[in-house]
């Protein structure tokens, strides 16, 4: 299977106060990153319902990132990141059962001061998803209906 022409489409749900801020700094500082991550800014990673991640895959994403403020204590809204902490295992369990590789989904914490961490994540995660190939959820479904 040749992946050479394939550019992964990755959706990142980033919390406004930490990871989005890091991503912004990484961009302004011209840190080297591939352009594959489309960022959706949420005010808190706790806003991310597991369904958003599934919807991203359904609409054509090959990989999804969710990133927020470090526990304990960094969350701008006190405990929003703990909600994230509880929900992400649900998504992992569901994706595992549905046969979607767990390497397509990354969640974690990156603070506003960690711009290099963000750039590194983008580089590594893009390569990881690139190696897996396209997810092509809708196309798989169509071929089943034939």
């Amino acid at each position: 299977m040749s992946n050479n022409g394939f550019e992964p489409r990755i959706i990142g749900f980033l919390c406004n106060w930490c990871t989005y801020s890091a991503a912004d700094t990484a961009g302004v500082s011209r840190m080297e990153q591939p352009p594959n991550v489309d960022i959706i800014r949420v005010m808190c990673s706790g806003r991310v319902d597991p369904v958003f991640i599934l919807k991203a895959f359904a609409e054509g994403a090959d990989g999804v990132i969710v990133s927020g403020c470090h526990p304990p204590g960094d969350c701008h809204y006190d405990s929003g990141n703990y909600k994230t902490f509880r929900r992400m295992p649900l998504v992992e369990a569901l994706l595992a059962q549905y046969g979607i590789e767990k390497e397509r989904f990354h969640w974690g914490w990156i603070s506003g001061a960690e711009a290099p961490e963000w750039a590194k994540l983008v580089r590594e995660f893009t390569a990881q998803v690139h190696a897996l190939g396209p997810l092509d959820w809708k196309r798989e479904l169509e071929s089943k209906e034939d």
Binding site: V51, K83, G99, L141, K144
Partner: protein, 409 residues
């Protein structure tokens, strides 16, 4: 009487004793609850027009009518928790005694956690349960496996691993339950699929747990007191002479424990058997299997409407929310995924979703399997304790001191 106390109880009323499943204690307790005005109404199951395969929930307010609901109907599986929430306003303004199987009680407790049912207005009279039979398959099973006319059945029982039916003419027929179920996967004879997997045969999460395990060669009901409320009800009934009680001896308690363990053991075997094929599949096979299954979904909303955990007024599955497009059949695989990921932390294995599914998709099997995995991670068992909030709503002290992404429980 205190929580944990156990009693053998029976009704002094001859008529109730005759119609009753065990000792008529439940019927008499409920009659007493109505007569003493401790409750405004009783929610029970009754055979509509005497048809044992058509069990419907009934709200009884006249104590004299209580006897009409005596006797256990094994071929009925109404959605009691949903009934209380939707049609009885979540018991917000009516005191109700509810006869419930463990799954009903668990579902009610989960809804109470979400403030959809007012537990203060309910008395949960739990009934031991090793499973109910799907009504249509049961009638077919009686005809083809047992060689009898389904209309001749006057009572069914699951005892010592056997399904026993008693007929109008006084005779009995029996089959080994595990063998019957294992050899008739296609036809679905025996208990409902989720019932086979259920480890909660004794409803200790209710106010009282009533059943026949531990009762040998007599008409009596074994009652375990599970809460202060249950204790108060039974004390009052004894004082009023509505039920008679005696202490069970050690042997009775031991018999009950053994039956419980045997039922739990069989349930675990069924869980393994049901989940093994999925766990054995590799990623590609899982993708093909589940996407294939869910491409049959016709978006009838049956599962969403039936599920007790699905209580949201503004449901994410409605077209106006933007996650599942309107007018698209089959719906995108998002449909079952949204359902799964929203209820999997609290699935009580009631099986109502799979019963409701027009396309016979293995919904309960899928979601309960995920729920067990999540339960292991979060150390959470849905439906057992109303004060144990669902994992997504709480933060533990240990978590408040971590800094990474490893879960600590």
């Amino acid at each position: 009487m205190m929580r944990g106390d156990m009693y053998l109880a029976w009704s002094p009323d001859k008529e109730i004793l005759e119609q009753a499943e065990c000792g008529g204690a439940v019927t008499s307790l409920l009659k007493f609850a109505l007569e003493s005005k401790q409750v405004d109404a009783v929610l029970a199951i009754k055979a509509r027009d005497g048809n044992r395969y058509d069990g419907i929930p009934v709200l009884i307010t006249d104590p004299q009518e209580m006897i009409g609901a005596a006797g256990a109907l094994h071929s009925a599986s109404p959605n009691i928790a949903r009934f209380v929430k939707e049609y009885l306003d979540g018991a917000s303004d009516l005191k109700i005694a509810v006869t419930c199987r463990p799954c009903d009680a668990k579902a009610i407790i989960e809804l109470a956690k979400r403030e959809q049912i007012n537990l203060d207005n309910l008395v949960l009279v739990g009934l031991n349960c090793t499973g109910t039979l799907p009504p249509v398959a049961a009638q077919k099973m009686f005809k083809e496996e047992f060689g009898i006319n389904p209309a001749d059945v006057v009572s069914e029982d699951i005892e010592d691993g056997k399904l026993i039916v008693r007929l109008k003419d006084g005779t009995e027929r029996e089959r080994n339950l595990a063998e019957l179920e294992a050899s008739s996967i296609e036809q679905g004879y025996g208990r409902r699929e989720n019932c086979r997997r259920c480890e909660t045969s004794i409803p200790t999460m209710a106010d009282l747990a009533c059943g026949k395990w531990g009762v040998v060669d007599r008409k009596a009901t074994f009652i375990e007191v599970c809460s202060e409320k249950g204790s108060a009800l039974i004390d009052g009934a004894i004082e009023a002479g509505s039920i008679l009680v005696e202490q069970p001896d050690d042997e009775a308690v031991e018999i009950r424990r053994r039956e419980y363990e045997a039922a739990t053991e069989l349930a675990r075997k069924w869980q393994e058997r049901d989940f093994a094929p999925f766990k054995a599949m590799n990623l590609d096979e899982r993708f093909d299997y589940w996407f294939g299954q869910f491409s049959q979904c016709i978006k009838c909303f049956g599962c969403r409407d039936a599920c007790p955990i699905c209580y949201c007024e503004a449901c994410w599955l409605e077209a106006d929310r933007g996650f599942v497009l309107g007018g698209e059949i089959p719906p995108d695989a998002m449909w079952p995924m949204v359902r799964a990921v929203h209820v999997m932390d609290s699935c009580v294995n009631c099986g109502q979703c799979q019963d409701a599914c027009s396309m016979n998709l293995p919904l309960s099997r899928f979601i309960f399997m995920l729920s067990k995995e999540i339960g292991d991670i979060f150390k959470y068992e849905p439906g057992m304790d109303v004060s144990a909030l669902p994992p997504c709503r709480i933060v533990t002290d240990e978590e408040l001191s971590i800094g990474g992404v490893e879960l600590v429980f």
